[in-house]
Symmetry: C2
């Protein structure tokens, strides 16, 4: 048959001749809000992960595209072109790590044009941190810092202040995000996508996806924020995605071409808008026009959005406009609606009945620990940089600041990135650390040198630090020999209050003595290093430094240091010349050679009792306060089993146990007990790959438990999650408390949620919560608290019990996009094994009502450990020629233990950023306002504070202006809020800062004297 | 372990602080050719198929992206943006079907800016047809037309003349492409990628990828062209592709980011350039920077090319520049090198030893037939439009012109597109046909109406046409009844010479008579329609028109029409009033009821003898010229068998037989013989799905064989290719001849190639060649020729034999990208079956040396069949009131039979495009120049030709200027070329056009009188 197999269908338009006539259509894109109609706010956006499957730089320049085609440079280049083309088009940008990279590469002409876009509101920065941070696993200080960094960039380059929080992707949402990182930044609203699937179902039904959220019990309505949860995800409705190669049908409106579809697509649009309007209060709905790494060719989106605005508004059933979340917020606010109240947080997140995203609370525990350690170090380094004075030179802390900032990304510290990306984050932090280490060494050097010698010339003292002290690797301390040089130990305390800490350094000789800065010998103790440490020290020192460490030192030398606030003292360790003057060697005995059935340790008030047979810690007894507690500490494995591919497995994100097994005491070494004047230790090898040391210091009333876990074996074909469990007989009524990003504690009730009737599908994983600072339970008389040194997942699955997941190693991906099994490996000389982690927990039992003080103060001490630096010199010479003791704070003054200096940073000559944080919550210790006298506080620095300006939390605007601009929302609250206390305005004359419970206040301090003189 | 698992590797640059300082780099992209260095010519291009997996419009606007993400609108939008950004950047564009769509949609401002790009040479149009046409299956007239359409657009809108042929993707390359569609367009060069893998290997070794190609034996060096074959494909070297999401490493040259790789990428570049320079003459190499549908975001390519130009030229080992094929051609020409000579063509194409792309010569035979039929119709319609006069109104033929133009695309008429795309091409042609049909009806109406009645007002006569006449569906002729109205048959001859043809129309009555335009009854014959026709008529009339046809007519009424050149005669069919006056009914008998062992048919000089037993045609006897021949015609099936997936299967492109089986005479009906005064027919049902009618006309000395094939059964699980084979005893010495795009015949020698020693891997598929016009073999005395009505694949696999592949139906894809099995289906009322085709071959035996004349003249008649239109009126009234006979040509004049009018088209009032084609080759009939007197030729139209301007073949420039600009190349020819004859300049006074063998000459004729008056 010579003719085509179809009817002669006639297309209305396509029979026009080929003559060149114009089908140019000038689209009308100028729509604005129309009252009385459903308004669809097009929000063009690109969600650009600051590292995930690829590193941040690979995402930026389009490297490693075989893993995932993504290039943020394309996004920003092409978006700008599209915005230039039509002044009605808008775009929001979120991740400053990327924008900054792009910005630096632009010509000055392009920068001017882009500033024009920002000024006209076409391009709006929202969220505005360096990254869209995780909300479960970072510390709030890191979150403030990373946002401040981004906001400063935006302020400095564009003079803009972001108005909206945009946490669209993080896997659950914290209370601290709402009040501290939202309201306290001056944000008018906060938006995100991911909440529990049951919660979403209820909110869709109740039209409660948009709420006013009060995240802080202490600060209540003074820190509330309008919060919008997206009906589904942060992408457009189905059929409205227009990235190059996307399959949604574009509008074909050229009458000379086939497949003309304007009416059809307009109807699709109206239907999708009505569906969303049905679950939304007011007649404003937001369409998220974009998703991950979209707008690589922005024109392909804007071309279609232009057409939809043109044709849908011609159609008239609904109104659609280019918008931003700020415009949307203003429209919501203008609607004068009453909004439901939300308190607490949005943890844990489940996207499916078997998929609770509670595994990532613990994923990559070594990296989480590294980030936390560096966070504390960065805080201290900024103090020291300020004390030293930058004298106008660029900060040496920029690299560490950047590295820590992007490490807060929701696929960074969360542990949910690919392995090579985790390595990239770590490398960046390591490089930043190396820079910071030099700065700290030089600053401490400067501060130790006497006034006369340092005014001119460079600093002569080289102070060494030991980042691997935790694995007993510290070359300067290991090599104390009998020559005339002493080990000079400079111990710096970054806290605003005085503190006593036992310092432990590895030494090879048992014949050493310790003197204080006055040359007086002080008590010290030698604790033998046991063999368990050796393997870890050898492998990880090699992995980290590139060479094998020297022979293992024999002892930890422990001595107690007494340190001033924001200052240091100097100690000297030398070979003991006289017998009897040297350190006291700990007494060692093992469970084998004792006849007693229990052993009690603890040189001070706190006593721990262990069962000799089981090795278990059985009693926690504080003689001073008469608190005691029966407890039992053990390790568990969640056995994941070989999971058929159709089932949900545990992975980087998801925790999906299918059984729990107690770690058996098979083949382990009997407990070893070490006792001495400063501390007692109990060493226990629980199985070939789990060991722990329980440590009780004379001056402390908590136990410090240091664990070594790994390599987790996989040879039985099952991935494993390693949990530690503390069991007591307390009747805790299903209730426990976990912190929000290291700040407020939030009440958790097992198998319950505040906002809906929970259908319990995962009784273990569904009760896990993020733990950054600690976790506690209480009954009528007692509190049991555990503090941690990094973020972990934790729960209380049985009354009286607390459990923490410390490590995990997998054999399956959990199918949430990362596409790689979380199986961390360390390789040395081509031999690879699973990652071993070394970490600490801090355990304490208090009388009811007493725990908060300890948790807060010691929590801050854990976050900001004593920074120790070393050099070698003749002790007497050093003492004579150097400053042996220093404090930034007036000797007569010390901050109260409930106020932390969370930022003390020189911004430029004569300008310092100061953040003071009240550590206690309302209703615990501190309903009254605490007071800091800023003048006394820094009076030791010989600076004259000229002006104190209170700022928003991210330091990008005056606090007073923020409060003026703040939108007021009507809230449908069930009960009246009790009065919230906040600190009053700072009197410019006496410079006294009031802090209410949980309040953080941020100031610029301007000095009249441009140069700091350290006293 | 709390520390990261990596060495503290220091990146040289990345420790810089985050302070905002500029990494802006102004790239130097201004490079030009540097003599003495290897020059890498970056040629940014996007190969945009005018339909393949998606329809042309879907590719344009990005529809149907689930099949393939591709949107040419993105390409053109983003390329323009990138070109605007840097004046050194260049781009070539090829497919005017797409560019025209884009151009129409642009604002006048954008058009001005783009014109600027074209004028400055940043944007260059090359090839410039509506599509990149196929070279195997289209007719040269279609190719000229489609290119003329594109070139006209470029000339009209931009004043530009493309300089380069760019056939990068077609699957083999024809001689006609080189000389006619290359040199005769005035192209300076021709480039492509696909040649036989063995050929390429040799050329790479010999550095003969770049040649001077003389495609025409007749026109030799006067139509040669510099031709470049790419070393591999038309994409960049590996690692240099930069579409969004491509995996090639981009240059990372920001010192503040990780993965800095400038040196590494420059070295990659130099290595790739040197490798290519090694197989290329002169120090110029071309890098094809692009491939299929690339540059959807052009910036992602240009950003990288900018960097490579900047850094590679800084490196200095090689030089790289933005270029175009024109610049590259000029550089090659300037090198003054001697180039190897290439003659013949590049068929067949194999990309692998088992993958000969010779299946597509036949793929979609119905569509190929449709295109060919419409091509002839379009030629005739343009003549009639001219005769009618457009009077300044837009041509009604534009849609058909566009549709036929894109149907020449190398995935259109080639049959290698997806099914829905084939349907789209067919639909476009159908729509175009409907418009053309109205125009033809109106023009014929106009021409038949007497002068006085038509000067004013509209045309009153409605003439019907029957596009389904080939399946005996023609409502106007079927309904001749006994009322007073006659069927008026207007038969138009589009050829320039007089002709006699038997016209056959279906009638239902046996009592009819035929009269000529003088009212004289003429001889006619009724040929019974046999049952075999009925099924096809019912199904396909329904499929095509949407309704089932009326009862089947009983007869074909045949009568001989005598037609003037470019004119018509009118015939009248009416119910015979007197017995004896009616048509003569054919005598019918079947093989069953004859006792003879042979039956001879043929009412004229030609006799065909059939074996009664086998049904085979055994003798072809021409009594007049005493030629006779023994032959045997049979059908074969290439059985493809179920192919394991690792083997190469036959598919849309590839012919891969694994066995051949003769169609058995199982269950078929015995032959039926029908005889009469005008023609004899032999009807044979070879098997349930193959039948044929062999037809011998009294006045013709060839046999016409009409075949009906299908539905090809697949129930045995094997795909099939249906071949017809004509066997003779001729000793043809492995040699046969096939045409090039319906024009020159090219000698083929079985299992041999001109350019290299062929390793024979596929003795069947590797000897197949495209057949558009025909195929012939010859021995010392005789020629056996077969002409075809559409393009097919053909060969002579055994001496004395010719075979043609007529139909194919597959069960496998051949893995060349189309991703769909070629299995054409027709559905009627939800019942579907494989496609049935109806087609014709024309068979003739000549004395040696006589065949060419027949092949050429009858070939042209096959291409331009008599156009028949119908109406009903009282015959006498019509004769009185209408013009019954018309010719555009002076009655005293007729073109010689070796000159065809291949274009006669009104461009605008007073301007006509005329193309005259000499049909014979040198050395056959016509070494001398033939002559056409243009004035006499069109003198019947009462027009006064004012000016005759000779043009290039695509009518976009004066021929004289073309010749002036033409580049002269040094050729390394083995022997001196014999003198080539070409027609001389046209004398403006006598307007005589000389035509040398195979010459086509193109003219604008300007008329002094703006209005045509038909005599």
């Amino acid at each position: 048959m010579a003719f085509p197999l179809l009817f002669l269908l006639f297309c209305t338009f396509c029979s026009s001749p080929s003559a060149i006539y114009s089908t140019f259509i000038p689209y009308n894109t100028s729509a604005s809000v129309v009252s009385g109609k459903i308004n669809v706010h097009f929000v063009p956006h690109s969600h650009d992960d600051v590292g995930w499957l690829k590193t941040v730089d690979q995402y930026y320049f389009g490297g490693n595209n075989s893993i995932r085609g993504a290039c943020v440079q394309n996004v920003l280049d092409s978006v700008m072109s599209s915005l230039f083309e039509d002044k009605n088009r808008k775009f929001i940008y979120v991740e400053m790590a990327f924008f900054q990279r792009w910005w630096r590469q632009q010509s000055s002409g392009m920068k001017e044009r882009v500033k024009g876009l920002v000024n006209s509101g076409q391009l709006e920065f929202i969220n505005g941190g360096m990254c869209m941070h995780d909300e479960a696993t970072p510390h709030y200080i890191d979150l403030i810092d990373q946002t401040t960094l981004g906001h400063k960039f935006i302020k400095d380059e564009f003079g803009q202040i972001p108005r909206v929080g945009w946490q669209i992707d993080p896997f659950g949402h914290s209370a601290v995000q709402a009040y501290l990182l939202g309201a306290e930044f001056g944000f008018d609203s906060l938006f995100f996508a991911r909440i529990d699937y049951q919660d979403r179902a209820k909110r869709l039904q109740d039209k409660t996806l948009e709420v006013v959220w009060r995240g802080s019990q202490s600060l209540g309505s003074t820190s509330q924020i309008f919060t919008g949860i997206f009906p589904r995800h942060y992408d457009p409705p189905d059929g409205f995605t227009f990235e190059i190669n996307d399959v949604s049908p574009p509008i074909q409106d050229d009458v000379l071409l086939f497949d003309y579809n304007v009416q059809e697509r307009v109807s699709d649009f109206v239907a999708a808008a009505l569906a969303q309007a049905n679950v939304t209060r007011t007649n404003h709905i937001m369409w998220l026009m974009g998703t991950d790494f979209r707008y690589q060719y922005a024109n392909s989106w804007y071309r279609q959005m232009d057409k939809f605005i043109h044709y849908v508004n011609q159609d008239g059933r609904v109104n659609v406009l280019y918008s931003t979340p700020s415009m949307y917020t203003d429209a919501k606010h203008a609607a004068n609606e009453e909004w439901p109240l939300k308190t607490g947080d949005f943890f844990p997140y489940a996207d499916h009945q078997n998929a609770y995203w509670t595994g990532y609370f613990t994923s990559r525990p070594a990296f989480k620990g590294f980030v936390r350690t560096m966070s504390g170090y960065y805080l201290a380094a900024r103090q020291l940089e300020f004390f030293r004075g930058r004298s106008g030179v660029a900060s040496k802390l920029g690299v560490l600041a950047d590295a820590l900032a992007i490490a807060q990304h929701h696929d960074a510290v969360s542990g949910t990135q690919r392995q090579h990306v985790a390595a990239d984050y770590a490398l960046r932090i390591s490089i930043g650390y190396k820079e910071a280490e030099k700065l700290v060494a030089s600053s401490l050097g400067f501060l130790t040198e006497s006034r006369s010698s340092t005014r001119q010339g460079s600093i002569s003292t080289e102070l060494e630090q030991c980042p691997l002290l935790n694995i007993s690797y510290c070359p300067p301390t290991e090599s104390i020999s009998s020559d005339e040089q002493s080990l000079v130990v400079v111990a710096y305390n970054p806290l605003g209050w005085k503190r006593e800490e036992v310092i432990r350094i590895p030494v090879s000789s048992e014949n050493v003595e310790v003197r204080d800065s006055n040359g007086i010998q002080i008590e010290s103790q030698l604790v033998p290093l046991l063999n368990a440490t050796s393997r870890v020290r050898t492998i990880y020192a090699k992995a980290y430094t590139g060479h094998f460490p020297s022979e293992m030192p024999k002892y930890w030398l422990a001595f107690s240091a007494s340190l001033p606030p924001l200052g240091f003292n100097t100690y000297f360790v030398s070979v003991a010349n006289q017998t009897g003057s040297s350190s006291i060697l700990s007494l060692v005995h093992t469970a084998e050679n004792t006849k007693a059935r229990t052993v009690e340790v603890g040189p001070g008030n706190l006593k721990l009792r262990f069962s000799v047979d089981s090795g278990e810690l059985t009693h926690f007894i504080n003689g001073r306060s008469l608190v005691h507690c029966f407890l039992k500490l053990k390790f568990l494995i969640s056995n994941l089993g070989p999971s058929p591919c159709f089932l949900q497995a545990s992975g980087a994100y998801v925790f999906r146990p299918n059984g729990t097994f107690t770690v058996k005491n098979l083949g382990q070494v009997p407990s070893t007990f070490l006792r001495g004047p400063l501390l007692d230790e109990v060493h226990q090898q629980l199985n070939p790959w789990i060991s722990q040391v329980t440590r009780v210091y004379k001056g402390k009333e908590h136990a410090e438990i240091e664990f070594v876990i790994g390599p987790i074996p996989l040879d039985d074909g099952t991935g494993k999650e390693i949990t530690t469990q503390i069991k007591t007989t307390m009747k805790t009524n299903k209730t426990f408390y976990t912190d929000s990003n290291g700040r407020d504690f939030i009440k958790r009730v097992r198998d319950q949620r505040t906002d809906w009737d929970l259908e319990v599908n995962q009784p273990v994983a569904g009760n896990y919560y993020p733990v950054n600072l600690g976790i506690y339970v209480e009954d009528d008389t007692t509190e049991l608290s555990v503090l941690v040194d990094r973020s972990v997942g934790g729960s209380s699955l049985v009354d009286g019990q607390i459990e923490l997941m410390l490590h995990r190693r997998m054999l399956h991906d959990d199918m949430r996009g990362v596409g790689e099994v979380l199986n961390e490996i360390v390789c040395v000389l081509d031999e690879c094994e699973g990652l071993t982690i070394v970490g600490k927990m801090f355990l304490r039992v208090d009388q009811l009502g007493e725990g908060a003080k300890w948790r807060r103060t010691v929590g801050q001490e854990i976050y900001s450990p004593v920074l120790v630096a070393f050099t070698k010199q003749d002790a007497s010479k050093w003492m004579e020629s150097h400053v042996n003791s220093f404090s930034g704070v007036d000797p007569s003054y010390s901050l109260p233990n409930n106020v932390a200096v969370i930022t003390l940073q020189e911004l430029k000559v004569g300008e310092v950023l100061l953040r003071l944080a009240h550590l206690y919550e309302v209703c615990t210790l501190s309903n009254v306002t605490d007071v800091v006298n800023v003048d006394s506080f820094l009076s030791n620095l010989f600076i004259q504070i000229g002006k104190v300006t209170e700022l928003s939390l991210s330091a990008n605007q005056k606090r007073s202006e923020l409060e003026k601009r703040r939108l007021v929302w009507k809230v449908a609250a069930k009960e009246e809020e009790s009065k919230v206390v906040r600190g009053g305005a700072v009197d410019p004359d006496n410079l006294v800062v009031e802090l209410a419970p949980m309040e953080i206040r941020t100031f610029f301090l301007n000095f009249d004297s441009p140069q700091i003189y350290v006293s």
